[in-house]
Symmetry: C2
Subunit: 319 residues, 2 copies
């Protein structure tokens, strides 16, 4: 029986999933090489081979490969551009990653897609969102990404639809990573939350966030560190997470009022780890702001957690 492999390229790790008859039969994680396009292509090809071996098979059974990219993708051409976290792909000039991977894999078809769009697609077709035709995926990690499923299909507009992270929640408010002010991501993205914590420390406030990160040998405040600090009732961490919930409440209520969604799936590195109590808080924040409070959206965690993107890449590749 044939097998399809999905490869989700992150700024730090490559995550794969091998799917046979809609079931994940193997997966692996490997570091993302940060040494240019050729090394990334090699790493993808070798991750596909190792995943097939883990699944007890080889390239002969490989049906197709899907690749999820943290950047812009031309699906028809198989090219990647504007992927700021992938060395070699930062520029808006397209690089033909798809054809190169396909050639190295003996001509297997390769489908590319944006990582968050594919993660939402994966959850819609195989995971938490199966029962819904209209849903928004909100991926909370370093930034806040999003993807829209409308009338059962991924809706990308001219390519950039779903960017819930750039909803205005506080006019002229906190600086967002995109350079604008007051966007959701400026309050609920881990990167901007960490930057805000550093600002507060400079102003003389105390927090255990950076000590906890150091203890784990990290130079950044990871999702697990946020959770640990909140559990230990660190005031700054708790306040910043409260602000994130407040900002998410505004942005998600507005999206709901505009789109009349059946469900909102919360994923991403931080989103996946926050758990049911966080979804409950978010629900209580959203509901009083709804135009149709009698028909709120279901708030759901992902089914596949870190594997959502790789599973979505498999779906994009037809598996």
């Amino acid at each position: 029986m044939t097998i399809t492999v999905g490869v989700d390229i992150g700024g730090t790790n490559i995550q794969t999933a091998a799917v046979r008859s809609e079931e994940v039969v193997a997966s692996l994680r490997a570091p993302t090489p940060l040494t240019g396009a050729r090394d990334l292509r090699r790493a993808i090809v070798s991750a596909v081979g190792e995943t097939l071996a883990l699944a007890g098979t080889d390239r002969g059974a490989l049906d197709a490969v899907g690749v999820a990219i943290p950047g812009s993708v031309d699906r028809a051409a198989g090219t990647v551009s504007s992927a700021p976290n992938l060395p070699g792909f930062e520029s808006p000039n397209p690089i033909a990653l798809g054809p190169a991977v396909s050639q190295a894999l003996g001509g297997a078809p390769v489908a590319l897609g944006n990582d968050v769009s594919l993660a939402v697609l994966g959850e819609h077709r195989r995971g938490a969102g199966r029962a819904y035709r209209n849903l928004l995926g909100v991926w909370i990690g370093t930034g806040v990404g999003g993807g829209l499923i409308l009338d059962g299909e991924l809706h990308e507009g001219r390519g950039a639809a779903g960017e819930i992270g750039h909803t205005l929640v506080e006019p002229a408010g906190r600086l967002c990573s995109c350079g604008q002010r007051g966007h959701l991501e400026a309050y609920a993205g881990r990167g901007r939350m960490e930057a805000r914590a550093r600002e507060l420390v400079k102003k003389g406030r105390r927090t255990s966030l950076f000590r906890l990160a150091q203890k784990r040998g990290k130079d950044r405040v990871t999702s697990s560190v946020w959770l640990e600090a909140v559990r230990k009732e660190d005031r700054i961490a708790t306040m910043l997470l409260d602000e994130a919930v407040w900002a998410l409440g505004i942005a998600l209520a507005s999206a709901q009022n505009l789109l009349d969604l059946e469900a909102i799936v919360i994923g991403g590195g931080l989103g996946d780890r926050l758990g049911p109590s966080f979804l409950g808080r978010l629900e209580r924040e959203i509901h009083p702001q709804l135009f149709s409070p009698a028909r709120p959206p279901r708030l759901l965690p992902t089914r596949f957690k870190d594997l959502s993107g790789a599973v979505g890449a498999v779906v994009a590749a037809g598996g």
Copy 2:
């Protein structure tokens, strides 16, 4: 050659349009009877007859009728519910208006739809939005309504999608007509703008708005009165319109960032009258808040003005 008649039911007037080969060949305006469902049905039937006569034809040539309703519609059943501005239709219990009109017109097919949705559909299929597959219509009148065309089709979600008027622009801000706070409609809907002007007068501020309305024999501040007051540099009118532009800038930028639209069509009683300088101001308000500033949406006035709803009703009826 056959003819299709669209009937747009407003809280004050009924507006019709007769369309033959995609051209509006006749239209009329008549007062909306506020004396119950039966009188409304009669008024629709007589408006259709008079419009056909204006077009130089009669019921023999009538292909179908479309009716745009300021409320909730079950298109398949031809029923109307929750239309607070139509006496006899306020309740959530559905009333079979479509079948009744059809019977009175000798069995001609009758299609019903929500008025703003149909107005946006009309502009998309026959008017300002023809060239675009993804657009948002923003109808600024007593309230702020909206409609979404996504991938070339009207997108209504579970029935309530497109409600851009209930985007949060100022958390815990001004009271909206829906009972929530801080929504776009609370700042840019004519009804709430007038309520705000009255509050300011109570607080001792001066404005010519109510005097100008009285002069025209109106007990409400109509769109023309707003425009006249702004032209005469009335401070309150100018300030409230500035706030409306500010609120629209936030809501439309957020919608754009989420949906990656090609165009935004501004219509409605107030929107249609504000003219190109207002669209220019709105554009300047939106652009600095965009996530993809290199690809802003086109801002467009409607083609059909007050006739958008009736033309959309014709489209819904297959004409």
